[in-house]
Amino acid sequence: MFSMKKTVAILGAGAMLVSVAACGNTNSSDNGGKKEISFQTWNLKNDKYTPYFEELIKAYEKDHPDVTIKWLDAPSDGYEDKLSSQAASGQLPDIVDGGNSILYGLAKAGALLDVSKEAPDAQDDYYEGAWEAVTMQGNGIEKGAYGLPWYVNDGPTYWNTELMSECGLDPNNIPTTWDEYFAAGDAIVKNCKDKGIYLGITMGYNAEDLLTAGVKSFMNSDHSKYTFNDEAGVKQLTRFVDLYKAGGIPPEALDSSWSQAADLFQRGNLVAMAGSAYSAAGFKQNAPDLYDHLAVGPRISDDGRSASLAYEMLGISAQSKHPDVAIDFARFVTNAENQVAFDKQASVFPSAKGGLEDEYFSNIDESTLEGKALKITLDQVKNGYGSRPAEFTDNNGYKNFQQQIALAMQGKQTPKEALDKSVEFANEKLAQ
């Protein structure tokens, strides 16, 4: 007879080994004759969106009785790491939700299907810009669409009208071009320098600020080199560096994130901030006093187009046992009707053709700040584009780009050196 201690030891060891061996299998399988597809989103399983997804899955399963959809949702913190470990262990869900840089990494590793090969007609369902966003090529990736476009996000520039008046700016004349923007910066430096009020911290986290100022292209056509260090790029960065040195941009801009910018804006330190369409609702809740003094304008641009469109996409795992079903369900999720239903709740925009013509988008109530923000963003989405190529990920260029700009602002190098070094670094990473 084994003693209690020995029994516990054996059971403990056994349980541990079983649990290690049983570490979650998340990809497709056949469940009782049904095809089971796993669909992974991030940060969408909550009171606001769960009913939408449950209804969506129910509707699909009703039309496809032989298919079961297993909806997984991962927290936003560490989502990329989770996808990495899932892909590395061969456990990538059949359908994964992600931005272009995430899907690019997976595509480069051969973990995603080229949808343009598997479903050549899918391209016709989406707006051209959206399809371009999912199309990847170069550096080991065969040209193709490594996902289906889902929702699109962008936003207006929010302006604090109280601070505008205090610093000698006309709140009824919101800057829209870079010349107007830097003129506003000069006025703020002149009138508000010692009050802890700054124009904004736009440059340093928005690579698109180069393209809307005349930089011809971020990369060359075959995606083998970066090209944003041209004359227009250097000129634009020089203007930001000069504004920083004059005191129109706060020191926090040197290593700030978007959330820090929002904090500074809400604290009344910034006159302007680039936000998303749904930032207005956030200001209403978190900073009601500020909300009463807000105005919205388009993203600053010399050509009237926004370059800050961010596309969310659904990638299909190359290891899916049922790729046809996975693609079919992903197309169902991203069709115009279902996208618009989701967009209404999330204040985002559809990438499927016909979506932007929906009645919901043509009847926006512009009497509120939220409505104005939505309308401006809608116009931007219609003719804007996403400037940051999928290759320009945080670790493969973007963070370095920000760091080089910070060094230029501190006077440790010239704007040209900053952009040249940034291009050199990113090109090196491309080759790896």
Binding site: M16, I102, P250, D255, S257, N269
Partner: protein
């Protein structure tokens, strides 16, 4: 008993023990028990062994293997010899990280060894007020990194409490760039590290202080030694081995610093990435979908070698001191 008689007696005893016992049921039971007794300790150790083997030994061996490949997280890569190590010494971020981590050790370790000892010396004793101080000093140890980050970012921000107070007192006219300047961030992080570590090392010193014989203090007092001389000539020699232990622990921790700089800079490694440390660099290179696991492993090996060398030097110095 003479030696010869004793030897004979022992020999007899051994012979007697060699004799086989008659076969009976008790013998079987004994054999069963001895089998159980043999296997039980292994079973108890097995879970821990599996965990250590899989997550430490195998992981470490794999790191060594990866360091000589150009693998990424999703691609196994090829053997590239010492390429990763050669690249390292041409990588500006690596050189910056090496400098920052080394400075961290040089600046933080002396404070980590001395300050907690002084603190422990001051708060030893059983009174309630001392208990209150001990608890207060230990408090930061139990705080999460996020909370620590929020506290210190709010305090050291250009519009934070510290700058506002200094401005209000007319000591400064412009905010001190605690979080917006390379050296400001580095020294602020060092301060936070010391603040965090004080309580932890203080507790270790308190245990060591409790082992010093009170009579030594009495003797020193009789010899006319005041509190300072008692601290220098009784306390410090009494906790010498603990000091060495803390020096080793804090050296390892300081060279691998991550949390403090990460939370103070929101993960950006400071303006221009100039506050990068070795651990932050490993994280940057070794995580994410396009993680360069080969390169990150090479950095890990360098960290291991440097920390190992530091510890060996400390051991040699300690031994020479003892001799």
């Amino acid at each position: 008993m003479s030696n010869a008689a004793f030897a004979a007696d022992r020999s007899e005893a051994i012979k007697a023990s060699d004799r086989p016992e008659p076969m009976n049921r008790t013998h079987h039971k004994k054999q069963d028990r001895s089998f159980g007794t043999i296997i039980a300790p292994y079973l108890f150790v097995l879970p821990a062994f599996v965990i250590v083997f899989v997550f430490i030994v195998l992981a470490a061996l794999n790191t060594f293997r990866l360091a000589f490949t150009n693998s990424t997280l999703l691609r196994p890569g090829k053997f590239v010899g010492f390429d990763n190590f050669i690249k390292l010494f041409h990588d500006e971020y690596f050189l910056t990280a090496l400098l920052n981590s080394t400075l961290y050790v040089i600046c933080v370790v002396p404070f980590m060894v001395i300050l907690p000892l002084i603190l422990a010396y001051l708060v030893r004793g059983n009174s309630r007020i001392m208990g209150f101080f001990r608890t207060s000093f230990y408090m930061p140890v139990v705080m999460s990194a996020v909370v620590v980050g929020m506290i210190w970012t709010n305090l050291l921000d250009s519009a934070g409490l510290v700058n506002s107070m200094l401005k209000a007192m007319k000591i400064i006219s412009k905010p001190i760039p605690f979080l917006t300047d390379r050296w400001g961030v580095l020294f602020s992080s060092m301060f936070v590290t010391i603040w965090l570590g004080l309580g932890y090392y203080m507790v270790i010193y308190l245990t060591a202080l409790a082992n010093i014989d009170e009579s030594l203090y009495e003797a020193a007092s009789l010899d006319g030694a005041g509190p300072v001389r008692q601290f220098l000539y009784v306390t410090m020699p009494g906790v010498r081995s603990t000091m060495m232990l803390i020096m080793m622990l804090s050296t390892i921790a300081a060279f691998r610093v991550f949390n403090e700089i990460y939370v103070l800079t929101n993960g950006s490694a400071g303006p221009g990435g100039m506050d990068m440390t070795m651990s932050m660099l490993i994280k940057r290179e070794g995580t994410g979908i396009q993680a360069r696991t080969g390169y990150a492993s090479a950095i890990s090996i360098v960290v291991l070698v440097i920390v190992g060398t530091m510890l060996i030097i400390q051991q040699i110095v300690q031994k020479r001191g003892e001799d």
